[in-house]
Symmetry: C4
Subunit: 271 residues, 4 copies
């Protein structure tokens, strides 16, 4: 990074340790950091269990503040040593790093908000970048590509599904009525979503014959609808996989060769 070379020596060194993972110190720092993050998430989780809280509440409270102060110092150091602090602060990881310390301070004003600390778990995603899991990263990129390519189709599908659950839910409200647990249209829409997605909690179920016939129809509909997003993602994944592994033949310019191809499968020229 040429831009950091004009910065003082200590700042360069700090940047190397905190932001990079090529040096031994940098790698050690990252592994330690990920360990701390996981530990602090476990602390928050344990603190939410009543029996553990009543016994170790004090210790967990101290641990939580300890981790928060540690991460606060780390966040300030990141801002100090990076070349463009604003750019880091508004980047994905910059925002996550901030969100990972805010809840503890907010808890002083709004009790209970410190449980949002679990957002720290997002910081662990750094593990892929840090440990240079290149192949995993390229697979992740493929998945993201496929999901992005199917974005518009999925949006159209979601609008159709939302329209459907509003209508199905309201019909069910009229069919079953308030005496059978369908106490309002929003609640009936909630039932429609629970049914259409095949989750089926069973907290609201049809009691009348007509309601059960109507439910059966909704379930079979949900069955068919389930196929659509799967189909979309499968096709896009297939396309993404094909685009990644494609090179054109230097002679006949044909594409569509397998990643392990040495010769063009159409004209036989060397690839």
């Amino acid at each position: 990074m040429s831009e950091t070379q004009s910065y003082p020596k200590w700042q360069q060194r700090l940047h190397e340790v905190i932001f990079e993972a090529d040096t031994r110190a940098g790698k050690r720092f990252d592994v330690l950091l990920i360990f701390c993050i996981l530990l602090s998430v476990v602390v928050v989780m344990l603190e939410s269990v009543a029996s553990i809280r009543s016994q170790y509440g004090q210790a967990l409270y101290i641990a939580e503040w300890g981790f928060t102060i540690l991460f606060t110092i780390e966040y300030i150091l990141r801002l100090v040593c990076v070349g463009k602090p604003i750019r880091y602060a508004v980047s994905f990881y910059g925002i996550v790093d901030l969100l990972a310390i805010l809840p503890t301070y907010l808890d002083l004003i709004f009790p209970g908000s410190h449980y949002l600390l679990v957002i720290r778990v997002l910081r662990v995603l750094r593990v892929f970048r840090v440990l240079k899991l290149v192949q995993y990263l390229s697979e992740a990129r493929l998945l993201v590509m496929a999901i992005r390519a199917s974005r518009r189709k999925v949006t159209v599908f979601l609008v159709a599904v939302l329209t459907m659950v509003v209508i199905l839910g309201s019909l069910m409200y009229v069919v079953e009525g308030e005496e059978n647990g369908f106490t309002s249209i929003p609640r009936s829409i909630y039932w429609a979503i629970v049914t259409l997605t095949t989750v089926g909690y069973g907290d609201i179920t049809p009691k009348t014959e007509l309601g059960q016939i109507f439910s059966s129809f909704v379930m079979i509909l949900g069955y068919g609808i389930l196929a659509v997003p799967t189909g979309i993602v499968t096709v896009e994944l297939n396309n993404a996989a094909r685009h990644v592994s494609t090179q054109a033949c230097p002679e006949c310019s044909e594409e569509g060769h397998d990643p392990d191809a040495i010769h063009c499968k159409y004209c036989g020229a060397k690839l």
Copy 2:
């Protein structure tokens, strides 16, 4: 539209504002309309919540009548300014526009039917056409194409599934009997559908050992069956995507060639 040019000026102007979205007034009208529709659907939903109804019932009742009168005027204006009123009245949007105002009037005769007003939500689908979301429309067309192409396969599949649930439900009625909640064959068929679609409410569950073994069989069957509609839609989506995404023949301009085609499959010209 050449046919509207022979109509009086005010009618042409009205048509432009109400039906089209190219002019500024037309766009503004459509956005306002969609906003009104969404608001009126929210009013119907809120009215169905007992606690809100008891407090704001009067206001919501007035709002509902206000929206209905507004939409009635709009419906009449549409009939007046369009070139072929009958054709509009029997089109998809014409019917939806009518269904979106009828329930309020019907409610005077059959109390409770005004909840069907939520069908208004279908009018919101206009948003795609109005806001010229061309790409979304073409994606939607692709989805519709795939679903239409798999229509016959899905029908065959549905007939097979319906035959299956009738037989499975009746067998379960004989196995479990009325004392375990399987009080009739229709109710047992409802159970079979709940199980086969993996919804699994849990309102009717097998109690006997034989019933649980039989249920396990039905579940694993449902597991395998779930794969069929997904497979059908995926294959058709793949076909639809291929047909849309390819190049035109330089001679006959036909589209729909495979990515590996060298000659046009219709006229034989080199691609």
Copy 3:
């Protein structure tokens, strides 16, 4: 059918009416038959509803015997007029036709078995053949081909899943124990199937922390496993669709042409 030409005239005529659907009388007979079958299935279903049985039990009982006698006569006539009675009797439809009348007679010995009459619904599948729904038949053949082609893969998959549920169920029995509803290994295996197939009735649920962690693992496993049969069927459907629409080029013998292709996409020759 040349073999029936040596039979007496009345037998030929009967065969035409009962077995074929090309003549007007034959078509009328088949439509009437399907109507009777559906009606008789509805009668059996209604008879199972306690409130209807107590009121119309007598009438439904008579109707059931009426239909059974009708179908018995039809079955005997089929045996009489067909060229090779044994071959018909052991064919799929022959067995279904017999099973569709037996339960009423069996009910005299084993009360309750008459509910098995719903197997009559299988006779309705004739509708596709009778009404000459050729395209539906070819789609059905495609589905059957795909399912048959994936038979072995699905068997391997099922053996793996069955092995899995036996082990997962037993582990859960040890983890949760009899005091939490997991009263025996078979019942725990039933729980494992309910969970792995994502049906999730909720009649048996983990109560201990360890049990919930283990369940979470089973659910995520089921999530991944759900993908396998879907993948198998999708690939086979894709293959089946390709094989059906394939013809070889008369010049270069290449295959893989689209069903609407007129020229070979590789050499440009007429197909």
Copy 4:
């Protein structure tokens, strides 16, 4: 096996019977063994049913020890007659064979652990190898290949899902609170997994309006997410099937050509 030829005659004969299935004695031994394994698993299962245990507990206890002693002798014989005992002992089947006898002995120290005997069911997987079900084996290999090829993509997907359920679960804990059954973050994460996988037991369900809205969001998310592993496996299965099913090159004998290939992609020779 050339290495066993230097061993004494009785050892060779024993190896033939126990390890191989080509001779009549070897096949008979294997079929008998599989029968014993299945029987012993049924004994363990029956023993776990309270009503059966109270009546036949003594007999089942004896049967269990009988099978364990039998399998212990078999395990020792395997170690004795095989060429490289250590290599067998650490192989998959060697470990399973050991695990299939240990629990009975462990039960003397830790009561209840004998239920782990069901792991014996894994030994039955030998049936494919023993009965020379070659085609099933090749299908199984295809499935394993597809699953192995999608390993990395599925890992990335699983990490994303685990991160998601931690955050969704914690948010739900804050939204619903301990008074509605979401008594701790781990329990809320359990709820998130139950919901996201569409299992939906219904043992913990949202009670507040905000909770139901949030749940609806989680369900629709789960709906979309369900598509990803299915897409991954389908694409990989498709690739695996293509690689296996194609012709060999006449010059370099390489396989794995696309169905539309004209030249070998490895050496360029005409196919």
